[in-house]
Subunit: 144 residues, 2 copies
DNA sequence: ACTATAAAGGACAATAATATCTTTTATTAT
DNA sequence: ATAATAAAAGATATTATTGTCCTTTATAGT
């Protein structure tokens, strides 16, 4: 579904959101341990998330990554996915055709459009704050 | 969504089905030109499809690939996808976790299950014969 | 038997994705 | 100023995917 980079990005973002919500900034080591991801690779991904204003980063002692609670209300999963995987998940043809649209469709086009639309809605309608609230139930996990 | 191999496989299978339906066997060159795919690579994929009884292959002059009309009635897209990409599309976690299920879910698990279920149904309920019939409308294409 | 056709199989090459390592920059506290 | 912490940036390495090339096997027609 998503690239590995994107999967790590989603896990990292959700973890950072969760920690930020309880007032913690978290550093790279903490993040990669919490989400069970390769540390150096995760650093690269966090750089992208920072550049694209998904997360905030502060250097130096007591620094780390965080997301403001206000931002969590509007930041959705779609924003994270787009940074790492672009919009291919929404526009890409199921059969890999470069040009495939309502006017010039592949045989599966209309069947895929319906499913993709749902995925899109799900990703766009799920904010980080919702997930953080969900996770207070303590039945969800981010590793293994 | 799918690997490139799987995309080529789907396009090739649909094309072979279409041609078989009008009584033609098709060879590698014809297939790779029709679906605009790298020929040698497509050969490898056709081997897998043949081994897994998705398509039939006959060597020698007047040989080529084909699918029997009876088989088209039951062969669905899911069967093709499984040969190339396995069942990861159905079981894989959206966040890339190895263990993620109803008992031990990731924060997106239940949201993903719903979408995957639809994809699964679509792939399982779409037979090659249906697609071939659709394509008689002549608005669908398999390349570019 | 010989030739042409076409798939199957094995070995290899190129590219992209994933992952690591090292150096630099920014910040804080002493 | 110095040391310690932590992210940013750059270079490099590994692995998986995609893609090509060459040889072998099977079949049909002459």
């Amino acid at each position: 579904m998503f690239s590995k980079s994107c999967e790590y990005a989603l896990r990292a973002t959700i973890f950072i959101a969760q920690q930020s919500h309880i007032g913690n900034k978290v550093n790279l080591t903490t993040i990669s341990e919490a989400i069970d991801s390769p540390q150096a690779f995760t650093a690269k991904i966090l750089q992208q998330l920072t550049k694209n204003n998904i997360v905030n980063a502060i250097k130096g002692p007591h620094g780390g990554f965080f997301i403001e609670t206000e931002a969590m209300k509007t930041l959705n999963l779609s924003a994270v996915v787009e940074v790492l995987d672009g919009d291919s998940i929404y526009t890409g043809c199921g059969l890999g055709l470069k040009q495939c649209n309502d006017k010039k469709p592949c045989p599966l086009h209309f069947k895929f459009v319906a499913i993709r639309e749902e995925l899109k809605n799900m990703l766009q309608n799920t904010t980080l704050l919702m997930l953080v609230n969900d996770m207070e139930l303590d039945i969800f996990h981010l590793k293994t």
